[in-house]
Homo-oligomer: 354 residues x 3
């Protein structure tokens, strides 16, 4: 069975990764893709293979909105058709594959599957993006693991106590049970901890929000998984006893942890992480400091995930446990499996019809 | 046929490698193993695989004598049974494999085979260890070669003339024939050189022992191979004509070269090397200086062995020679082969009985 | 089908690569070979495998014209017969393979195929080598690509416009068509550009030759491919309108770009490159400066070739185009294919006759 859903939008890059002059080569779902901008600045995505001699197009330059191969100057259009080549008639040149691609919310989204099914309406709605009431900062990690291990990781935050002991971990995460539900195609795992002390990361956030950092608090974590592999986590703390997640604005601080997990290959990912907040949105220093802190924390995940992957590769016959705390990951995997199976069936039907 | 004997004690580490707080992950005979100490400081060895999500246990910490997984906090006991996990009932958790392990003579010994057959009495007797009349210093190398190439190396010291020309090599090693015998399960290859000059290493040893370093000497090398893959070499020099190996104590200097060769995989080893001496045993500076010198010399072996292994891999169909000088290695390999065959038969009988 | 011709002379090294004391280990056409000099300084080539224990002979030393193994001192003669070994009778030792090898024109040439067919007369004639009217400077690159990609590269110089834009590239190379012919077993691709400006490399060459560097020039490139994989390129510029390639000596400057492409494996090469010139031949500073410039330019090819190879490996089922500009490479590949096929047939006939 395939490893990932193909008929879906994946984040391939952030807008700034692709300038007007230089292409970006990046592999997504096992496809090598060259991203570039046409003369209008509109994002394009084609197979990273020059039909002339097979050089990667992403080594070239962009001239007048075409991607010029860095070997012998073939000019590729975003459609996958050769636009021109010095002294050559190109109308019989073989076409290469182009991919549906859109730019929205500051991200470049690729659709690796059937182009007929791609539609901008199928993009997730990021309420915090392009919204003046919110600020966003984030980064990108390249991690050697199956993308589903990262989903498991994000849907079971008990790991914070062990992996992130010095920043966001605290023993109450282990101790308070989670609730996992599946609603409208979304897996939601939530945990509400009451009357505890704030760990260092949240103490800093309280201070940044001009709130007291040393009193008892209520803390919440609401992890939301959406197909194909996005996890948005509402996190926050409020003064204890004020209603937790529903406490009045002036007694709490919260944010969204943003995770777009894009498979590069069957065993590696592009992990776009970040944090969206609706306080002090005009403070770029705070954005930077949150991003630095988050980057440091997520580096701790990188090591454990890569070592976990290597270990699972060694012990291929071993089964692993599915406990209550794993319910979020288990439900997400089931949703993915069903979607992959459905794609396979559609493909089969399509083949038979021909 | 299997590459190595499993029902045997192998050196996995030195005592200092495993503290009370931190586990050690090390692969032996293709098994990934996490070593740690229980609450009494007693050494434990379990498969390096957390039954919860498959992370390597050796990335974790030791708390109250249990190995706590660094991902979600499962606590593993030395028995391979899960001791506890936050908010989970663990009685139905799958057990992981534990290995017989003992600590003796400053080393940690692992038994990768049938636990029923493991017994402390089967450990070799190291007369120089835990003995106030002797001093020991040594080190560990990780080498990419079949462990048997290292046995060959140590059972045929003519290589010293070429590989260690500037320290312990001398042409008389080539010229004086060796005698190889097999007695009581031990292969012994000995060479006695008479009336020669001492090479630099032995000149220094004579001086360290307050003996003259510039006169003619007799020199001996007695290599003793024991299953599964240990080589102890009695080496020394005496004033010429005083009886060589049997010369009076005040005319000679000698020591044991200690070599525990532990297979990591089919084509890599953990090589524990050292030297035990019964002179100036209270001089830690001398211990250090001998260890440094020996380490440098054995680095020369590392290169040639890794290159030899690569070459043998390239020329898989070539046969190599078995000369007189190779008799020690040849006999050792035969002894290993017989033991492996016997293990395979036992295993077969066991299978048929079921 | 085999990847390369075996019955041919390939450049394995330059003379200075092999001293009188030290062997050189180098793989050519998938054969690991140890090169060394006998007592007369004559070059020898044997399989890089000691018949005693399989160590690479190239790790050893040369003593009295024999190659002494660095492990246990076996002495190998250039014939592949063991010359001697300390305290051992060697007459029954297995022989290892020796290869026809000659030294000429400052290069060491190896014949990986049938020794009966090797003959010094089959060496190419390098009119500029060993010739006081010419100076030569060059270097060696180790590149991870099929040797035929390098031939393609050198037989289609339109890549200069893109890969070497800042040194020898100019748009006229793209614009002026080439002519490709096959004559006397040689593929020739030539391009003559008229009334253009000189790119930086040629401006410097004009100055070095005391010619004006800022006027219009005619420029030529004549690429000559010979079996098994040599490409010699006549390049030059002349004052415009003086006859181009045939212009009087005092109005032009030219040289030979020398390319010996030696397969190391099916997907890697030893690339011996250089430039031979017949002006200012007594100026070693100029030789050095040309070599440095050429080395820098050819480094640009290395990157594109290795990336092209990786991309072709990824897209194994894709076909690439054969355009007019590719005719030189296409013809060269055909010539190689025919020769390989002929070798295979000869081999078959030989087998049947036995």
């Amino acid at each position: 069975m395939a490893t990932f859903i193909l008929n879906a939008w994946y984040v391939a890059a952030v807008s700034e990764d692709v300038s007007n002059d230089e292409p970006l080569g990046r592999k997504v779902c096992n496809f090598d893709i060259a991203f570039f901008r046409n003369a209008d600045g509109k994002i394009q995505a084609v197979e990273d293979f020059c039909p002339h001699r097979g050089a990667p197009l992403s080594l070239g330059k962009v001239v007048n909105g075409n991607l010029v191969c860095g070997y012998h100057g073939l000019q590729m259009a975003g459609s996958g058709n050769t636009h021109s080549m010095p002294k050559q008639r190109v109308d019989k040149f073989p076409c290469i594959r182009s991919f549906p691609v859109v730019e929205k919310f500051g991200f470049i989204w690729i659709w690796p599957g059937d182009p007929q099914k791609a539609a901008e309406e199928k993009l997730p709605n990021l309420q915090w993006a392009d919204n003046p009431d919110w600020a966003y900062g984030g980064g990108l990690f390249h991690i050697q693991c199956d993308y589903r291990l990262m989903i498991d990781n994000l849907m079971d935050l008990t790991h914070e106590t062990y992996v992130h002991a010095s920043s966001i971990g605290q023993k109450e995460i282990d101790e308070v049970p989670v609730q996992t539900t599946v609603e409208k195609g979304q897996v939601v795992t939530s945990r509400h901890m009451e009357n505890i002390s704030a760990p260092p990361f949240w103490q800093a956030a309280l201070r940044a929000n001009n709130l007291q950092d040393d009193g008892p608090i209520d803390r919440w974590q609401i992890c939301r998984f959406d197909l194909p592999s996005h996890v948005m986590i509402e996190v926050g703390v409020a003064y204890a006893g004020k209603g937790g997640y529903d406490a009045p604005e002036n007694t709490k601080v919260g944010s969204w942890v943003v995770d777009f997990i894009t498979p590069e290959t069957d065993s590696s990912i592009w992990y776009f992480w970040g944090m969206a907040r609706n306080f002090k949105v005009d403070d770029p220093e705070l954005t930077k400091s949150i991003r630095d802190g988050q980057g440091k924390i997520f580096t701790e995940d990188q090591e454990i995930l890569e070592r976990q992957q290597l270990n699972l590769d060694k012990y291929k016959d071993k089964r692993i446990l599915k406990l209550d705390i794993d319910a979020g990951g288990v439900q997400a995997r089931r949703m993915i499996e069903r979607a992959i199976k459905k794609e396979a069936e559609l493909h089969l039907t399509g083949d038979l019809a021909q």
